[in-house]
Structure formats: C-alpha cells, structure tokens
Subunit: 217 residues, 2 copies
C-alpha cells in the first residue's frame, strides 16, 4: 500500500501529474465497484484502500473526506448521463425514437451503477440545504428540462399523448432502476446468481415496449 | 418514560394483556413514522422511545432487538399487501380492472410506507441466507405468483399481451415506488414541501394509464 501511495502521490515523482489523475479515478472506480457489488452506498476507507491498492490517505488528499469522494462519484456518474441525454436530444431523430433510446440508456445506466439513486438520495439527505440545492441545479434540473423538451416535441409532432413530463420522469427512472436495485433480492430469494446482460436486454425490451405503447398517440 | 413503560409492561397490571398488544403496535407505528418522515430505515432506539413515549427496553421485550423490530414492521406491512392482493384476485372482475386497482393500490402503499422497499432490501442483505430465504418465501414468492396468475388470466381472456410477469413486476413496483422514495429529493430540490394525496392521485392516474395502455392487446 505504501508503495502504491507513493507512486500516486503527486509530490513524489516526475510522473506525478499523470499518475495523480489515475489515482483519483482509481479511487472512484473502487468506490463504484464496492457500491455495485455490496448493494450499498456505505463504504469504509479500509475497504476502499484494499480494493484500489491505494493508501486511504489519498481520499483526504483528493476529496477532503468520504462525503467528498461520494460527491465526486455522483458527479462523474451524473455528468456522463447528462452528456448522453444532451447528445441524444441534439440528434436528428423522431421524438419517439429518442425516447426509446433514452429508456434503454436509463436501464443500462442502472445496470452499470445500481447504487446511483441511493447515492443521490443519501447525499441530498446529508447535505446542507445549500448543497442539496446545488445537487438539484447541477444534475436534476437539467434532466427535468430534458424531459420537458422531449415530451413537448413529441406532443407538438403528434406522436405523444399530452402527459405530465415530471410525473413521467419518475415512472421511467423508477421502472429503469428497480430491476437492478433488486439484484440482492434476486440473488438471495430467487437463486439467480447475478444479473447478466441478457437479462438487462430482456428487461429493456419489455419495459421500452410497455412505456412506449403507454405514451404514444 | 418509566410511567409509560410500566403501564405497558405485561407483568405489572391486570390490564396487561390489552395494553401489551397496544405497546407492541405503538412501537411499530413509531418506527414506521420515523422511517417515513426521515426517509431512512436507520432508526435509533432513543428516537423510537421518544416518539412512542415507551421505554426502549420494550423493544427487547417484544422483538428481541432492533433487527427483530424491523422484521416485525416488514411483516406487518407485507401481510397487509398480500391480504389485499389475495382479496383482489378473488374478486369477480376483469383482469384489466384488477390490474388497474392493483397498480393504484401499489402507489398508495408506497405513499403510506415509502421506506418499504429499502427496509426489505436491508433485511435481506443483513440476514443469514436462511432468513433471507424465509423473507422470500413469506412475502416475495406469493406476490410473484399473484402476478403470474393475473397476467395469465388476462392473456387467456385476450385482454393482455403476452408479457413476462416477473419483469413486469419490477416495472410496476419500480414505477409505484419511485415517486415517494424521491420525497426528500423533491423537498430539497424542487421546493415542494411534501407529497400530498392530490399528487399521489395525479401520479396514480398517469401511471395506471401509461402501464395499462402498455400491456393491453
């Protein structure tokens, strides 16, 4: 651990600048993997150190504390989502094709980050009202506006019924999230050892189909 | 607190038998209220004592420990759901009307017990494989079988498309749950002070509508 920590410590090497970025990303990767596999957002610094092969003092160095690391992980995950939603909205494609792709992408996201909604809720709950407001401004409001635009386009082009975009947001994300946050329940209760990509795709096929039939004119 | 504890202690009074049941229910009511309002399944014995007006030693008396109290709360909530699903299935009603009522009831359940899925997941995670299996047998398998029957009836009567009941279970419960587990996010992020029954009903109307259009032939 000492060796790794030294290698990654920006003060100790000419290669510092490159490795520094790597160590930061490695800590986030390790936190993500622990949350995904343990079905929890409660992680310990010793687990993180063991998993990443890095000294846990680097958490303090890069993120201040564990809360800072959790915020950085949320930021990394949410920015990826926002970028892909923005890219999708900008495409020259019908609103219903965009929506199909979006629902499929949301299911894929929760397959990759099944802890994401719990991480978001935990950070909102444990933050000051000011910081919770910032989380809303940075991640939730842009998503909310994307739903408004996508539904509005579809209604104007006569393909979607006139539904409430905000309520619809909860329907989609709830349906997308639930399958994978239930991973532990599946494993213990139905002896299904793990969710694989085949199950993800079957779930996506059926869910996209139900929701799209549900909102099309 | 001593006074209340004495009042409720079955060893101390002729009224013991009646009060004993009340104290047990009061503790479960208090745990439910704390989880609902705090948007968490992490409760402390001192909070429970303060909220119920009962001595926290009664938790040990009735439930053994905090885990036992959580299991008893899960049991109370889940039995209520299973009873209402069984009653619904036994009714002389079309499969689509049954499904509409069921989705609406599921949304209402998560309005009343927004912590329920998290409580279930926590208890599955923290239980021995044997106890997790018992949770599955007692609550999840009967629900799963109810979905099988309801979808099968609808397909046979030509009203539902031939969908996978298990995957559909996750779509419905995910969509039903999400709105209310997001209560804290709504409060902090969108300045909506609380979810009220009007919002519950609007969400139920739209969600029932989307899902039913999604599965009808």
């Amino acid at each position: 651990m000492t060796k790794n920590a030294t290698r990654a410590d920006p003060a100790n090497s000419d290669l510092a600048q490159n490795d520094a970025g790597n160590a930061r990303e490695q800590l986030l990767d390790a936190a993500s993997a622990i949350m995904r596999e343990g079905d929890t957002v409660d992680i310990s610094l010793s687990e993180l150190s063991l998993r990443s092969g890095l000294n846990s003092a680097l958490v303090k160095y890069y993120f201040g504390n564990k809360q800072g690391l959790m915020l950085a992980l949320l930021d990394r995950n949410m920015r990826r989502i926002l970028t892909s939603v923005e890219t999708l909205l900008a495409k020259d494609m019908s609103p219903d094709d965009k929506m199909r792709r979006h629902i499929r992408a949301a299911i894929s996201t929760y397959f990759d980050y099944p802890y994401l909604n719990r991480l978001l809720m935990r950070l909102v709950r444990d933050s000051s009202p000011e910081d919770a407001g910032k989380i809303a401004d940075d991640y939730l409001r842009p998503l909310s506006e994307a739903y408004n635009r996508l539904i509005k386009d579809g209604v104007e082009q006569g393909v979607f019924r006139d539904i409430d975009p905000q309520l619809f947001y909860f329907t989609v994300t709830g349906a997308a999230d639930r399958f994978f946050s239930a991973r532990l329940v599946l494993r213990h209760c139905f002896s299904q050892d793990n969710l694989n990509e085949g199950m993800r795709d079957s779930y996506a096929d059926q869910t996209v189909d139900i929701i799209m039939r549900g909102i099309m004119v």
